[in-house]
């Protein structure tokens, strides 16, 4: 075989190492008004942020858990510490990051990636950003990439107030409310009119603390005609108690702008990943989501795109791989409100070793979305009969002048393909790994090389022991 | 000289902002049979679609004059009622609607009057005989489960029943075996005999032309008529292929 795409074997310890919780400031577990006020105080919030936190807490307490999707019985917020901070200030110089944290990110390859192919990097460790840096040339073009807390103290304070939790509001669902109450860390990105970044910006989220939650907020505004690729990576060491991730990502794509938002999610398999992502796209703008979901014990994740401007576009390309002990409920939502909008969702899922993958989607085409298009395609691969794979797409169409296509398929690895590869000398496991990597190439070919390699490594790792 | 039935003047046609025809000129007198030849992807089918008014093919410049009238802006159904017919390479399948019900409905639209069931059936069966078609096909759902050859025969059956003034046959002979080509040729002969109609045959091979009287042949290269000649041009191209003229 000429097209061997896989690389050297890696082992899980690359992600699984953990650091002791010493030197950390850690709030007691649970969620009370007192705890929320402590977070607010610790972070020196402006009044409106503190008020939003308290209001969100009320909403959180008044809302029930979803009556659909995977069971959240194993998650008890009273055993989650919502705020954990390393005893360190945010640095813009790598040398100033504490050795232990620096070591963590170096193991994960973060600073190397920055030097090679990124325009800027942010790194969050537990509840706070520990490092943020953009290349000089990027900063000179007026691009802002910093943490939200710092940005609130600059001339961008009003812009943040105007957008923050306006797209994802605390009343959307229980975990959006939780986020509103205890959010900490994350990034603010502003790309001015007409500025096109040649290299991506990246944020890396690491949750090291046991039994803790991470609630970072990402707010990105891409102004008219601008272009940005933003990459988000996440990982955590595995513990035997639940960890929680309830971040929020709010993306504003202005007229004729383009934003590509790529995620390689590799949380440890004790993580409840209840993340919310939403994009609002103006006339002629485009949002592209590239998502690889490999980690987490349980996920609820459906990035939503609201196409409100004429000719706005959305593309969603995703893959989920659920292995033993994982229940990944993922997909996308799109709401098309203006004429000539278009959406394309293309997803793949792989279930193995008793893992559960669910593709859940919503396509909503409003009355005014004349001459719009939507195409959804979803393919699922079952690697054994202990696993589960569900496809739950919904469509709500309110104009006849839209072109709606939808396809879903489910099946197994073709025995003929495995046999063919084995007849060329590959072991059965290698043959299946190769086929699964090929199945996943809708996502890997959209990623920068380093990430595509990381993704293939993850697939290889998950495919270990897939025989017998 | 007989009257000019179709006149195409400096026709420019684009699909999704891509120009495919860039200045086609063509005149076809009433009652003649013309052939349009050319390599694949050169715009022959585009010309066919533009002539019958396919909404995806946008005329950006030029005019189409049919029977003395400018039809460039008219809808496909209006053009059909005026007597333009195209046999499709891949005709539509309509479950639940029989071939015979479809033809009857089309005939009533084109003629503008109701057609008596008995007269219709008689003519339909007589025409199916010419095409060696089993009557049972008329009661099958339009093109559903038809083979490639059956679909082409069904198109020729519609040609003979609707009796248009001008018919464009797009690659009607492609993918057919020798017998089927013979049947389709017989159908085309019958059309000429019954109506004295005018034909434009689009093809890139030329099997179907062997038994037909061809008045003029046109060669299309890159969205333009490159050469025009008599029957001998067909034979020349059969022998040499589509080289650029010297």
């Amino acid at each position: 075989m000429k097209e061997k795409t896989y690389v050297e074997d890696i082992d899980r310890s690359m992600y699984d190492f953990r650091n002791e919780d010493k030197d950390a400031y850690r709030l007691e577990e649970g969620l009370t008004e007192e705890i929320v006020l402590k977070i607010s105080e610790e972070k020196n919030d402006p009044d409106w942020v503190r008020d939003l936190r308290l209001e969100s807490l009320k909403i959180y307490n008044s809302m029930g858990l979803p009556n659909w999707g995977p069971s959240l019985d194993g998650l008890d917020i009273n055993h989650i510490s919502t705020y954990v901070k390393k005893n360190a200030k945010m640095a813009d110089n790598w040398e100033d990051v504490p050795a232990e944290v620096k070591d963590t990110f170096e193991k994960l390859g973060i600073p190397q990636a920055e030097r090679k192919s990124l325009a800027g990097v942010g790194a969050q460790y537990d509840s706070e950003l520990v490092y943020h840096n953009v290349k000089d040339s990027v900063a000179k073009s007026g691009v802002i990439y910093t943490d939200i807390e710092s940005a609130l103290k600059t001339e961008y304070a009003d812009m943040i107030k105007e957008h923050f939790m306006k797209l994802i509001t605390p009343s959307d669902h229980k975990f959006a409310a939780l986020h509103g109450a205890v959010w900490s860390g994350g990034s603010f990105v502003y790309v001015p009119k007409g500025v096109k970044l040649d290299f991506p910006l990246q944020s890396y989220f690491r949750l090291n603390a046991k039994g803790a939650g991470q609630f970072e907020h990402t707010l990105i505004i891409v102004d008219e005609g601008a272009d940005l690729h933003f990459i988000e990576g996440c990982s955590a060491p595995k513990y035997n108690v639940a960890n929680l991730h309830a971040g929020a990502v709010e993306l504003f794509v202005h007229k004729n702008a383009r934003l590509r938002y790529s995620t390689i999610e590799n949380w440890s398999k004790n993580m409840y990943n209840l993340n919310s992502k939403r994009a609002l796209v103006d006339e002629g703008g485009k949002i592209e989501w590239i998502t690889g979901s490999f980690g987490s014990h349980l996920s609820y994740l459906y990035p939503m795109s609201i196409l409100r401007g004429k000719g706005a576009k959305m593309e969603f390309t995703g893959i989920s791989f659920a292995n033993e002990g994982q229940n990944l409920d993922t997909g996308a939502k799109v709401v098309q409100l203006a004429p000539e909008t278009s959406s394309v969702m293309s997803t793949k899922s792989i279930s193995k070793g008793g893992g559960v993958c669910t593709f859940r989607s919503l396509v909503k085409i409003g009355k005014d979305a004349v001459n719009s298009k939507s195409a959804v395609s979803c393919e699922s691969l079952m690697l054994d009969s202990e696993s589960r794979s569900d496809t739950i797409p919904a469509m709500d169409i309110r104009t006849p002048y839209a072109d709606i296509g939808h396809e879903a398929q489910i099946g197994k690895i073709s025995d003929e393909a495995v046999f063919y590869l084995m007849s060329r000398g590959l072991s059965e496991e290698d043959a299946k790994t190769l086929i699964v990597s090929g199945f996943a190439d809708n996502v890997s070919k959209e990623l920068p090389l380093e990430y595509a390699i990381e993704m293939n490594n993850l697939i290889r790792l998950e495919m270990k022991g897939s025989i017998g | 000289m007989s009257n000019t039935l179709l006149q195409v003047k400096d026709l420019h046609v684009g699909v999704q902002d891509k120009e495919i025809l860039n200045g086609v000129n063509l005149e076809i007198p009433e009652g003649e049979t013309h052939v349009l030849m050319g390599p694949n992807g050169t715009g022959k089918s585009t010309l066919g679609y533009a002539l019958i008014g396919h909404p995806k093919y946008e005329v950006t410049e030029g005019r189409i004059i049919f029977d003395g009238e400018d039809i460039t802006e008219e809808g496909a159904d209006e053009r059909a009622k005026k007597g333009l017919f195209l046999s499709f390479q891949n005709p539509l399948e309509v479950p639940g609607v029989s071939l015979s019900a479809f033809i009857k409905s089309a005939l009533e639209q084109v003629k503008g009057e109701r057609v008596k069931a008995w007269d219709f059936k008689k003519k339909l069966h007589a025409t199916m005989d010419v095409l060696n078609m089993d009557y049972e096909y008329a009661e099958r759902d339009l093109n559903v489960g038809f083979s490639g050859g059956e679909k082409k025969k069904a198109e020729i059956l519609q040609l003979l029943m609707l009796e248009p003034k001008f018919a464009i046959l797009d690659e009607t002979d492609s993918g057919l075996d020798v017998d089927a080509v013979r049947t389709v040729s017989a159908g085309i002969d019958e059309y000429k005999k019954r109506t004295g109609g005018t034909l434009l045959i689009i093809t890139h091979s030329a099997k179907i032309l062997e038994s037909l009287k061809v008045d003029r042949a046109h060669v299309m290269i890159e969205g333009k008529i490159d050469r025009t000649g008599g029957r001998e041009l067909v034979d020349e191209i059969n022998a040499k292929g589509f080289e650029e003229k010297e």
């Binding site: 979803p66 009556n67 659909w68 939502k333 859940r360 909503k364 009355k367 699922s380 079952m382 690697l383 054994d384 009969s385 696993s387 589960r388 794979s389 569900d390 496809t391 739950i392 797409p393 919904a394 469509m395 709500d396 169409i397 309110r398 006849p400 002048y401 839209a402 072109d403 709606i404 939808h406 396809e407 879903a408 398929q409 489910i410 099946g411 197994k412 | 019958i52 008014g53 396919h54 909404p55 995806k56 809808g75 496909a76 159904d77 059909a80 009622k81 017919f85 195209l86 499709f88 539509l92 309509v94 639940g96 609607v97 479809f102 409905s105 089309a106 639209q109 084109v110 519609q158 609707l162």
Partner: protein
């Protein structure tokens, strides 16, 4: 009462998980109809119909509905091994009435269930069918044609539970929405553990002919078995340019093309009515409402 429940819930805000109907059933009339023929059900009533198909037996049953008020019919079907049932259900209700039509079927080994629903009626329709493909190599086919016009509601829920080995299901709904019609189509193929070698397919065509229609679709594929094949496809919208062109080219305008395609949806199924009088009557009704 709650009906047409989606087997697995999803987002609540889209309102497709189930129907909450303001209706309390009274006493059910029990009807055993394990024979060939036509069962006419009309008026305002609640009925439980039982159809038993014996081993190797082949039955053809037509249920003809004319609701006045609410007609609520639950049909329980049991098909013994190698039995075969063709069930044609026709709704010919007048405007302002509503039909609740629920079918639950169990299909034994190598048994076959063919449900054809022809829904040109003028009232609201809540129609569901669940097939338990219990026996190995059992099959079910659900083929539906509907027309939703004025302020009509057509709410559907079809479920194929693949339990036996090498079972086959095929769900196909073909419909037209006009005026302020509101339609929900739920379809579920559920490959349960142990159904190795099974295949399921669900398809939907919905032709939308007005700016005020509401079209909901939710086609589920649930799977806990490796060796299966499931597929779903749909086409929703107005007539495509290519379809319209072909009609136009033969002189038929847009309205004529829409009517012909809509008629075709029904006529394909009307042919399956094994009774000349009822077939002609239904054909006439379809022509009227179109």
């Amino acid at each position: 009462m709650k009906l047409n429940k989606l087997p697995v819930r999803t987002f609540n805000h889209i309102g497709m998980n189930e129907v909450n109907l303001d209706y309390d059933p009274g006493t059910y009339e029990n009807i055993d109809f394990s024979e060939n023929g036509i069962l006419n059900l009309s008026g305002h009533k609640d009925a439980k119909v039982t159809i038993d198909v014996k081993e190797n037996e082949s039955l053809s049953v037509i249920m003809n509905y004319e609701a006045v008020g609410t007609l609520n019919v639950n049909t329980d079907i049991n098909i013994a091994p190698r039995g075969e049932l063709k069930l044609v259900q026709i709704d010919a209700s007048e405007e302002g009435n509503r039909l609740i039509n629920e079918v639950n079927a169990n299909v034994g080994g190598e048994g076959r269930l063919n449900i054809i629903q022809i829904l040109p009626g003028r009232g609201d329709v809540y129609s569901g069918a669940t097939a338990e493909l219990t026996g190995d190599r059992s099959e079910c086919n659900m083929d539906v044609a509907y027309l939703t016009r004025k302020t009509q509601i057509t709410d559907m829920n079809y479920v194929a539970n693949h339990r036996g080995k090498e079972t086959v299901s095929d769900i196909f709904a073909n419909g037209v929405l006009k005026d302020e019609g509101k339609k929900n189509f739920r379809a579920t193929i559920d490959f349960k553990t142990g159904c190795a070698g099974s295949k399921g397919e669900e398809n939907e065509h919905a032709l939308l002919l007005s700016e005020d229609v509401i079209n909901g679709s939710i086609p589920l594929i649930l799977c806990t078995e490796e060796d299966v094949e499931g597929a779903h496809g749909c086409q929703i919208g107005s007539l495509s340019d290519d379809v319209l062109l072909y009609f136009n080219q033969r002189g038929i305008d847009k309205a004529g093309a829409e009517k012909m395609i809509s008629y075709g949806n029904f006529s394909r199924l009307i042919r399956e009515i094994d009774d000349d009088v009822l077939r002609e009557k239904t054909d006439k009704l379809v022509s009227e409402v179109l």
